[in-house]
C-alpha cells in the first residue's frame, strides 16, 4: 500500500487534528444524553484525528467507513460515556479499535505488502530533514514487517500510543484493560521493534536505563 501526500482542503468546521480532546468535548458528549445536537462539537473536534488513525491502519478508503461507524456507535452509546473517567478522544479511539478488530486480517496484509515494497530514495539536496526522512523511509518496510508479526493486542497498544498519542492510562480506559497490562504490552511491543531493527541498523541508538525510566514515567503520567 502506498500513501500519497496531498494538499488537504480544510473545511470551515474542521479542527486542528493535533489538538487534544478537551474537557469541553467530554461535556459535549455527556450533555448529548439530553441534547443530541451537542454531540456535534465532539464530532467536529475529533473526526479528523480518528479518521487519520484509521487511515494509517487500514487505508483511507476503509477509514471512511470505519470513522463514520465509530461516531455512529459513539452516538448510540453516548449515555455510557462518563466524563469523570477521561476525555472523549480516548473513548472514541477505543470504539475505533474495536471496529478495527473485524479488519485485522486486512491490516496485516497491508503491513505485509508494505514490507515488500521498495521506497523511493530521498532527495539528498533537502539536507538533514531528508536524512531523517530517509532513515525512517528506509526502515519503513522493516517496521511494517515487525508490525505485521506483532500480536494484535500489542499492535493496538503501540499504535494508540504512537499514532493516537494516548497515554497508557488513556489506552487502558479505551480498551478496558488494566494500566499495568497496557504498560506491559507497550514495553514488549517496543522491545520487539528494537529487536527487529537492531540487525538492520546497528547504529540505531539503544535506550539507556535512564532514558527507559524517563519514557516509562512519561507513559505513566
Amino acid at each position: 500500500m502506498r500513501y500519497t501526500r496531498r494538499a488537504a482542503t480544510r473545511s470551515a468546521n474542521e479542527t486542528d487534528p493535533g489538538a487534544r480532546g478537551t474537557g469541553r468535548d467530554a461535556e459535549s458528549v455527556a450533555g448529548s444524553i439530553v441534547e443530541s445536537q451537542a454531540f456535534e462539537a465532539a464530532f467536529e473536534a475529533n473526526f479528523q484525528v480518528i479518521h487519520r488513525f484509521l487511515a494509517r491502519r487500514v487505508g483511507a478508503e476503509l477509514a471512511d467507513d470505519l470513522a463514520a461507524e465509530t461516531f455512529a456507535v459513539a452516538y448510540r452509546r453516548r449515555a455510557t460515556f462518563d466524563s469523570q473517567r477521561g476525555e472523549v478522544r480516548p473513548w472514541l479511539f477505543g470504539i475505533a479499535t474495536v471496529l478495527l478488530q473485524a479488519h485485522r486480517r486486512r491490516e496485516r496484509q497491508i503491513f505485509a505488502l508494505e514490507a515488500r515494497l521498495a521506497r523511493e530514495p530521498p532527495d539528498a539536496a533537502l539536507g538533514a530533514d531528508a536524512e531523517r526522512s530517509a532513515f525512517a523511509t528506509s526502515l519503513a518496510p522493516r517496521l511494517a514487517d515487525a508490525l505485521a508479526e506483532m500480536s494484535a493486542g500489542r499492535r493496538d497498544v503501540l499504535l494508540l500510543h504512537a499514532w493516537g498519542e494516548l497515554s497508557c492510562e488513556e489506552i487502558a480506559v479505551a480498551l478496558g484493560l488494566r494500566a499495568a497490562t497496557v504498560r506491559a504490552r507497550l514495553s514488549r511491543a517496543r522491545a520487539h521493534l528494537r529487536k527487529q531493527l537492531d540487525d538492520l541498523d546497528p547504529a540505531l541508538p539503544r535506550l539507556s536505563d535512564k532514558e527507559s525510566q524517563r519514557l516509562l514515567e512519561e507513559c505513566k503520567t
Binding site: 500513501y3 500519497t4 501526500r5 496531498r6 488537504a8 474542521e14 443530541s36 454531540f39 464530532f43 473526526f47 479518521h51 487511515a55 494509517r56 483511507a60 471512511d64 470513522a67 461507524e69 461516531f71 455512529a72 452516538y75 449515555a79 455510557t80 462518563d82 473517567r85 477505543g94 479499535t97 474495536v98 486480517r105 496485516r108 525512517a136 526502515l139 517496521l143 508479526e149 500480536s151 494484535a152 500510543h161 504512537a162 499514532w163 480506559v173 478496558g176 484493560l177 488494566r178 494500566a179 499495568a180 497490562t181 504498560r183 506491559a184 514495553s187 514488549r188 517496543r190 520487539h192 521493534l193 531493527l197 541508538p205 536505563d209 532514558e211 527507559s212 525510566q213 519514557l215 516509562l216
Partner: protein, 357 residues
Amino acid sequence: MNELDLVKQLRDDVPAPSSAAWSQARAAIAAAEAHDEQAAPGGAGLWGLPRRRAALGTSAIGVLAATGALLATAPWSSSPDFLAQAAAALTPDAGTVLHESWEATAAPQDRNNPEDTKAFATGPDQLWIEAGAKPRYRALVEPRSYGSGSPAGIGGRYTVDTVYTSESTEGDFSERLALALKGQPLEIGGTLTTKGGTGSGEIPQSLTFVPPDELWSANMLVSLGPPLPGPEAEIDDNVADPVSELRTALAEGRAHEAGTTQLEGRTVERIDFDPPAAGTPTNLVDPQYVYSHSYAYVEPETFHPVEIVLNGSYYRVLAYEYLPATTANLELANIEAQHPNATIAPEGRAPTEASAG
C-alpha cells in the same frame, strides 16, 4: 531517534478525510439519531432500556485488587442467599492458607484472525496465599507447551503477566530468567499488594527460584490470570488468580445464579458475570461480548470453583482448599522458607555485580 519515533513517522502522509468522508459520517450519526428517537421515546434509556442500575454501577467504584477481594467483607446484603453463600465460601478466613491449582486453556488473542486461532493449554499451575493483612504468596507455573507468535509472559514461556519498574529490566531480566530455568516450572513468590499501592515507586519485590539455589529478585507486578475488566478496569493488581475475578464480581453484586447444569457428568451450579447495565457509566466499548463469554461453574455444596471462563479463556480448577495455618502450610506460601539457603541475586546478578552495575 528511537523505535517509537520511527513508528510515528510511518504512514505519516495519509490524506485528510475528504468532504465525502465528513458527509458519510454525518449521515451515519443522523441515522443513529433517528434510530435513537424511534427506539427510545419518553426519556427512557438507550434502545428503550430503563437505566435501572446506573446507581449500582456508580457505587461499585473500582475493581478490587486480588488481595482486597480476597479479604473484603462482601456487601451482598441485597443478593440472594446463593450468591451470599458462594461469596462467603470463596473468602478465606484470616490465618488460613488458600491453595489453588488450575489448568488454563487460553483463547487466541485475535479471534478474528484465522492465523491466530491457536489456543494454548498450560498447567497445572499452583498458588498458595497466606490470608492476612499483608499476605505472602507463592506460585508454581508450568511452561507453555509451545511458544509460537509473541506470547506474553516471562521469556514468552510462562503465562505470567508481569510489569517491571523499568523497560530495561523487563527485556533483559525476563529473557535471562527464562533461559536460566531451562524449561523447568517457574516458582515465584513475594508479598501481595493492596489496592492503589502499585504506583511507580511501590511495585513490590518478587523472588523467583533459579536452580541450583538462587532467588532472583526484581520489582514487578505479577498476574497469573487475565482478570475480567470491571467498570473501572484500571487497577494494577498483583497475583490476580483466576478465582479472584469471581470473588470480586460476587462482592460487587456483578453476578447472578444461572442454574444447575452438568459439566462432564458432574452436577455444577453456573454463575454468570453481569455486564454493566444499560446506562451504567463504563468506558468498556464492548462489555456485552466480554461478559457473555464469562461465567463460572461451582460445586453445589461447597461453592468451590470447578471451572471459570473469562472472556473465552478456560480455567479448570483442580484444587481449591483452605489449609490450617500450621508452620508447614505457612511455609508453602513463603518462597524464602522453601529455599532457606538460597542466595538472593538482584535481577539475577550476583550481589556484588548488581551493586557495581
